[in-house]
Symmetry: none
């Protein structure tokens, strides 16, 4: 059990090895440092905890004289023990990935009394570079974030001269090292090739994470070494966040996510009535396709509704009715509902901040932010996120079939999206776990203590940044780690861009923007069975094939779209919609083009029809399928009740039944004359596919009652 590793061995005076660090606050970085200490059973003494930090802003400029002064003081008690080995490390930006034995083994290889870590930059005074001894292979310059040595020599170094709290510690050590006499006398060496210490600044491309069974380590592929202590000096702090997702013992290839199980907060033994109180903020900032499904899934969340206070910001008048209906039907099931409607004209930033206020007001234990584009397909999501017990944790969601997700693995220098080394593995679910990342959005759970602590209280405003960017920036600045979890599948994102809302049934048109959702709503549940080459496709007439394709809902919406449009052709040979203006075998129809669905239909042909065509007409392949004749036909006894025998100008034709024989109409069907074979019992949502031009001379049979609708495409004319 991973938790067993977290035993901390307290440093004792008898031990010949001691690690010293300086930390004034128990930040997230400090906790991560301590975790790595404990996992490796190292003897660490922390100096300055609770004291005021006077060493300057180390992240952004020089400073750190205070650290030298603290160490000098601490060394007093060890200076006379020539066997005592002391290591100094920074704390917030350092990780251990080895135990004492390994560290000392490497140290002894140096035959030195003192070893400083090395880096590629001569800092803070680049003019000193030429004073450094030449190095054949390896980093040339001293870094003072990590070093170790025998106590007497270290004591001499720390007492070599004066230093103020806000003087630069690294400059102090550098000057001693560059004094050749002192260097020789004290036998000071640099770890040029990261045998012990890895400074990451300027060296990110030198290192690679390696997984062997349950082992995860960083390898320096430049020098073929395995550094034991890692220091994210300079602007490499986010990279250390990424490394921390794996080492020490956070994740490995065999056991997967180990840190997932740390610090959990199980609800297992709690009764629903004792479940934590959650405020859920639902944000509809834009017209969002498949919002109907969003609400259904939201309703299906497996969490006691009376523990949920809803806060809804509807920024899109388009969804007004749906949301009103939702609140009317289900509002009372929740502890409370607060709805801010689009007509209140509240900006997104403020709406989101008001969500946090609602959380404060309701004394929430968690705040769950859910944007309307985040479909929670896994109803256990909320409960599982609560149990994960992190300051901020987002269930990973992606746009299906895309690399677009609700988190960023890394940031550019100016704070925008950058791809981390593991982004694709995480997004594609090849690496499952809990990931410290710099940016999450759309859906995430914020723990109550973060909300209620004024220092970390979420704020969606930061300069002119988008609300989600501002939220994350503020969180990072407040040293709150943001996690994304893909331990399980939670749901997915719909794409809101390019959603056309001027049609009658707008989601019909989302086939390509939101393929996944489109399929769930419109693709026949048995569609993919026919892709299974072990099964036979139904063949009602020779070389005529029959497939379940679309849902009844699709059929109804398509017919609805057509009848709403209403401009049925007149059934004569004159057809101004065609290039030649002439149709020899006219039907009463409306073309997909006329209702703007042609591009979507071509997508349908390419992605759903073509694979079936390839199954049944082996060896024929035309990608994408072409079709300029895509139309819905209407047969009626009092209008055009039948279609005379003809060929189609197609390589193959598809013919989808849009309603039901014997129920919606009498008669009808399609007869293939050369085979004396008819398909009379057509099935709503099922598609006939037949060769168009040569062998399958066919006719549309007489409709004696009611109205028959079919959808036809002449593919590859």
């Amino acid at each position: 059990d991973a938790a067993d590793l977290l035993t901390n061995e307290a440093p004792s005076a008898e031990r010949k090895f001691l690690i010293l660090t300086v930390a004034t606050e128990e930040t997230s970085g400090y906790k991560r440092y301590q975790r790595s200490v404990k996992i490796n059973g190292l003897p660490v003494k922390v100096l300055g905890l609770g004291e005021e930090w006077k060493g300057g802003d180390m992240a952004n400029s020089v400073g750190g004289g205070q650290k030298v002064l603290m160490l000098r003081k601490e060394l007093e008690s060890h200076k006379d023990d020539p066997e005592k080995i002391i290591m100094f490390t920074d704390a917030y930006d350092v990780l251990f990935n080895a135990n004492e034995e390994k560290i000392l083994e490497q140290f002894h290889q140096f035959n030195a009394r003192v070893v400083f870590s090395a880096e590629g930059f001569c800092w803070p005074d680049p003019n000193l570079a030429s004073k450094y001894p030449e190095v054949e292979r390896g980093k040339r310059f001293l870094n003072s974030g990590l070093f170790m040595g025998y106590a007497p020599e270290l004591y001499k170094i720390l007492n070599d001269g004066e230093i103020a709290n806000d003087d630069d510690d690294q400059l102090y050590y550098t000057k001693i090292y560059l004094d050749e006499k002192k260097r020789k006398e004290l036998n000071i060496k640099l770890d040029h090739r990261s045998e012990i210490f890895q400074n990451l600044n300027g060296a990110i491309s030198d290192v690679e994470l390696r997984f062997i069974g349950t082992e995860s380590h960083l390898e320096n592929t430049e020098y073929n070494t395995v550094p034991l202590v890692i220091h994210a000096n300079g602007p490499t702090k986010l990279f250390l966040n990424t490394l921390g997702n794996y080492i020490p013992k956070s994740w490995n290839a065999e056991e997967g996510c180990l840190n997932c199980w740390e610090d959990m907060n199980s609800l297992e033994k709690k009764k629903p009535k004792d479940f934590p109180k959650v405020v859920i903020g639902i944000f509809i900032e834009n017209p969002t396709p498949f919002f109907e499904e969003f609400l259904h899934k939201f309703l299906a969340l497996s969490y006691p509704k009376d523990k949920i206070n809803l806060y809804i910001h509807n920024g899109a008048s388009y969804h007004g009715k749906q949301i009103a209906g939702f609140v009317e039907s289900h509002g009372k099931e929740y502890a409370s509902v607060k709805l801010i409607n689009h007509d209140e004209n509240v900006k997104e930033w403020h709406a989101r901040n008001l969500g946090i206020e609602e959380c404060l007001k309701k004394k929430c234990e968690y705040y769950f932010n859910v944007d309307s584009l985040a479909h929670i397909d896994n109803p256990h999501t909320l409960k599982l996120l609560i149990e994960q017990n992190r300051p901020v944790v987002a269930p990973m969601m992606i746009r299906p079939y895309q690399a677009w997700s609700n988190f960023w693995g890394s940031l550019t220098a100016d704070g925008f999206y950058a791809r981390s080394i593991d982004y694709m593995e995480i997004v594609q679910g090849q690496r499952r776990g809990l990931w410290n990342v710099p940016f999450v959005t759309s859906i995430y759970l914020v723990r109550g203590d973060i909300i209620h602590n004024p220092k970390t209280k979420p704020n969606y405003i930061y300069n002119l940044l988008d609300a989600d960017m501002a939220f994350c920036t503020n969180m990072r600045n407040n040293d709150v780690y943001l996690y994304v979890t893909n331990r399980l599948d939670w749901g997915h994102l719909v794409t809101v861009d390019n959603f056309e809302t001027h049609h009658f049934n707008n989601e019909l048109y989302e086939i390509s923007n939101n393929r996944w959702d489109w399929e769930k709503r419109y693709l026949h549940v048995n569609y993919s069975q026919n892709l299974d080459t072990n099964l036979n496709v139904s063949m009602p007439c020779p070389d005529v094939f029959w497939f379940p394709m679309v849902t009844e809902r699709f059929c109804d919406e398509l017919v609805g779209e057509m009848e709403n449009f209403g401009q049925w052709s007149d059934g004569t040979n004159t057809d101004p919609r065609l290039e030649g203006g002439y149709e020899s075998v006219p039907t009463r129809d409306i073309h997909m083009k006329q209702i703007g669905l042609e591009p979507g239909w071509l997508h349908f042909l390419q992605h759903y029809v073509q694979p079936l065509q390839q199954r049944v007409y082996e060896g024929y392949w035309n990608d994408p399928p072409r079709s300029t004749m895509n139309f819905v036909v209407r047969y009626r006894p009092d209008e055009q009740p039948f279609l005379k025998p003809h060929h189609d100008s197609s390589t193959y034709t598809i013919n989808v039944a849009l309603n039901r024989p014997k129920i919606d109409y009498e008669g009808g069907g399609c007869r293939f004359l050369r085979y004396n074979c008819s398909v009379l019992d057509t099935r709503k949502g099922w598609m006939l596919m037949h060769p168009g031009r040569l062998t399958h001379y066919h006719e549309g049979l007489y409709v004696t009652k009611g109205t028959r609708y079919i959808m036809v495409s002449f593919v590859d004319p």
Copy 2:
């Protein structure tokens, strides 16, 4: 029996009706006149026979005073009989088509003592026109070729004034008629509306031949009369030749050809050794397609070869070998062979005249001219032509499916082809018989008496006219009637124009020029069975049809053509013959285009393949079929032995086996993968037809031994 009609009733003094005519020579026209006299049982007395004609060239200028003088003399013996009715007619250009009863009945209707025929031209002195009485309806001017009246009045007219032998008779009568006093006194009338007499000059479009049962008569549709005596005055002599083919009793709709049976010369009772001696002149003036077949049919003539002397003029070096072979193999079977070869450089005119000389030399009884383009399909032709016993008689032959024949029904004023009223009926065989025509060519029999009579001896030279034109012109000028017979089918003409002789098998390319002969040589004998909609087409695999298409000879010649050309493609995907330069499923092949056979092949697709396609793939129609990929494939174990599964870029594909499985090669065949169906026992000359693009994924199976050849077209790509 038609011959029974030819009884001549001698005019007797007791009879009240007498016909007088003047003829100095028994020309063909005279004989035709006499035939019409006899058939109608008319009392004709001919004046001047054997006397010298002094009346001038009646055909081309005025003259005929001699006729008046002869009549004047003859009337002496009738002048006192007021009941005696005398008719005068010209002889060479006149036909009777009625008997005495009808003639007199019509005459009495006039209530005149003298009736002259009328015409539309005032001749020979147009200045007299205004002197003529006005006529409401009908021809206004007197013609003296035909008239009749009572003997006393006629006598007065004939003795009205002086006239010289070469004065114009018509002017003589005209002057009397225009003298109003004489006209009244003698009661002279003109037959303005052809109640008795039809002058044809200027009136050809007034008349029409009519057939009712066994009745053939000329109807004047302008005046609704049926003229009884017809006179080809002026330049209408050839039209009378045509009329003479029908009247009197020459041909009628019920009994057909009556004159065919007149003057026959049956060989029935003769033994072959007593058959007439014939010189046959074979003329090859140009490279002639299907000459091989010509010779075979010529050899097959059912006539004793020892009665035949061959005279061959080969004007085309192209046929040198064939003729040498023919002479070597068969020359001895004939009485003699004289060959004038192309290297002797004898011009056609002279070569043909030499044929006549050969006839004279051999003391031939007949001369049979046969040009190499005249295929004698009926082996009895020669014997039957001899029996027909006409001065010159040609067996009608046409270019199959065309209106082009070996005779002309009429001539233009300058002697070239003009279409007679009955040309199409004759050419199409709807009217069968023996036809007096102005021009025959290519194949005809000349009776020995015409050859041996120095006056009528054929001569192929006349100014710069072509030999055949010259021959006919000379014959016509010598008053020798030329007949063409279509009583039976004799043979047909091949088309020599545009015959390309630079190929390996030149006749292969004659599909469109000489369709009939091409079909006989190359089209499978059972081809047309599959056009019979009552029979089922063989279907070796679903929607794959199988047809006998071409002869084994076609297959061998096509393969020969390809192997002679030899530039087989290399079987790689790079194909510079194609527009895109790329072939995804390459065969080792040669395109029809490369051997210049593409146009011919497109003809084949249109005329032979398409009708079959329409039978098996109902409702599909594309005329003409398009195809840019027409090629012969060669499979060999050591080259390309098979073709991987593929579709063709065609609506349908045809695949003709060009050689024999199990004999010429082992393995091979065509497999349709989706139906798990193979055609292995392909048949040489048979064609597979299958859909190309969608359903009939197919492969060419492995050829394990020998060479397999197929011909493939991708139709309507």
